[in-house]
Every structure is written in structure tokens, then in C-alpha cells.
């Protein structure tokens, strides 16, 4: 039991850190959409895209905030939210594959090595979620 404790704490820390990251990125996406659609406070747009791109950013930001909420639940009670860890690992793997495909497409040539680095980081995070995740415990 003692040997599982660091993994348990690490999992909670990992979930909380990922939740924080998702919250930050989600907020940026939502703020970018609101700025473009309504307020136009920033002198320069946050992202070089058109109004449909901002619409997608707003939707993506909302999804990230929801995901952050799920991760916070997992950080608070890992054994009863083990599925969040599995879903997060799957999402991170998918994100990694998409980045490799983006690299291969040639369209993102100027961000080439950044894409490879991001892909590797996402895989490592996904594996951490897979291996640190505590066994599921059913509610009584």
C-alpha cells in the first residue's frame, strides 16, 4: 500500500496540472473569440485566423474548460473518476498523432520541430496517465 502512495499523489498532481493547463488554454481561446466577436479590445488579434477560426476556437475553449472540470474531479477523487484518466490519455494520444500528421503534411513546415516536441510531450503525459491511474473503485 505504501508503494502505491507516491503514484497516487503523482496522479493527483498530474491531473491538477493538466486541469490548470486546460483552464488557461481554454480561457485564452474563449477570450480570443469574445474579443473578436464582441469587444475587439486587443489592438492585434490573438490568432491569425478568420471569423470561422475564432468560432472554432471558442468552441474548443469551452470543451477545454469542461475537460479541466473533469480533471479537477479526478484530482480530488481519483478512484471514483478513473475513467477521466483513461479518456485524457486517449485524447493526448490523439493530439500526438495529429501533430505528427501535421508535421508530415508539409503545411506546418515553419513549426516543424515544435510539432515533434509537442507530440513527444503529449505521449509522455498520456503514458503517465495510463500508468499512474489508480484502480477504479465502485461507489457503495
Amino acid at each position: 500500500m505504501r508503494s502505491a502512495l507516491p503514484a497516487y499523489l503523482l496522479y493527483r498532481l498530474l491531473a491538477a496540472t493538466t486541469a490548470l493547463f486546460c483552464t488557461l488554454v481554454g480561457l485564452i481561446f474563449v477570450v480570443a473569440f469574445l474579443d473578436r466577436a464582441l469587444f475587439q479590445i486587443f489592438a492585434r488579434p490573438l490568432f491569425d485566423t478568420n471569423y470561422w477560426g475564432y468560432y472554432i476556437l471558442g468552441s474548443g475553449g469551452s470543451a477545454l474548460l469542461a475537460w479541466a472540470g473533469c480533471l479537477i474531479a479526478a484530482a480530488r477523487d481519483p478512484e471514483h473518476s478513473a475513467g477521466v484518466g483513461t479518456a485524457t490519455a486517449a485524447g493526448l494520444m490523439l493530439g500526438s498523432v495529429l501533430r505528427l500528421l501535421a508535421w508530415y503534411s508539409g503545411e506546418y513546415r515553419l513549426a516543424a520541430d515544435q510539432l515533434r516536441l509537442e507530440s513527444a510531450i503529449l505521449v509522455v503525459l498520456a503514458l503517465a496517465f495510463v500508468w499512474l491511474r489508480p484502480a477504479r473503485r465502485d461507489r457503495a
Partner: protein
Amino acid sequence: MSAVPARPPARQFVAGKIGATLLGCYLLALALRIGGCYQPESRARDDLPNAGPQMGEHFPAFELPDLSGTRIGTRVLAGTPAVLVFVPSLDWSPPTKARLIDLAEVLGGRRNVTVAVILTEAQATLRARAFVRERRVSFYYLVDTDGLTERLGLQTEGPDGTSAALPATFVLDRDGVVRLRDVRRQARTWLAPEVILDAVAASLGSPPAE
């Protein structure tokens, strides 16, 4: 009272972890190795020595329509150094897209250098036009409706059986004389744009203005 579903055995749980780990290791290896899939090279290659004009020869005269239909020819290119870039496709060839983005990064904003990208008529597809439109790079994009690629011996067959150009680069000086040639069978590697820029600078006698 509802029946509680049986828990999966621990062995299955570990098998899932091992499967995910194998997938993760594969993706990590891919992320490390994918950089070698295609990349620029700092040395010019000449895989087809008989194709196209040789160094020191005049590039044959041509006049081809660009994507909007305006005809551009050697007379328009004369007077400034020109870079002629033969590309297989801007549709189905990822390394060719990367090659052009590389080139645009180095030569895109420079005055006194004209860059003409030449693709065969079969490769002037909607997706190729979309790529050109989205990139907004100030190159000429010429469609070879005149058999220039074939006459130069640079014609090949694309994966869909249509005609395509072999990847080749020619740097011409003000008089249209070839100062650098790079002809390749495969698009996976391309001549680094810095080498092209050096050849342009050499033909100008000074670095080209930004």
C-alpha cells in the same frame, strides 16, 4: 436489487496498460525519427545529368500562363536573377509543400529576385490553387501547358498516373544563363534555400536586397 457487473480481471487491466504503452513508444519513436522523412540538403544534386540545360547554358525560352491566366515568359524574367522551381505537385506531395514554404521563408520578401514555380497542367488542381492562395507568397506559379517539362526531360508520372515534373531548381542570372542546377528523382530532399540565395547573390555580385 440489480446485479452488480463483474469486474474485469486484473490481467486485462494490465494488458490495456501494456497496449497503450506500446502505442506510446511507437509514437515517441515516430516523433524522433519523422524528422528524417524529408529535409533540405546543403549540396546540389544532379540525378539526371541530361535533363534540362547545363551550367553556363541559356535556359530555353518559354512562355506559360500563371494560375490566373496571365502569360509569363523568359522575357519577363530577364533583367533580374530568376529561380525556376519545378515541382511535382502542390496537392499530394507534402515534401514539395515544405520545400516551397522553406523557399518562401528565405526568398519570399526579396526584391530583385524573381521566383517562378512551374507545375504541369495536370497538377494545377483545386487543392494546389488553394495552397497557393492561402500562402500568399509573391512567386509566379506557372502552369506548363506547353510541354516545357517534357522537353527538358523533367517529366514523370504522379501516383495517380497523371504527368508531373521531377523536383528541380535552376538559378538563372540576369541574362538567363544557368548558374545553379539541382535535379532530383525524389522530392523527399530538396536544395536548402540558403544555397539558392548564395547562387543568386553570386550572380548579382552582392546580396539581394530584402
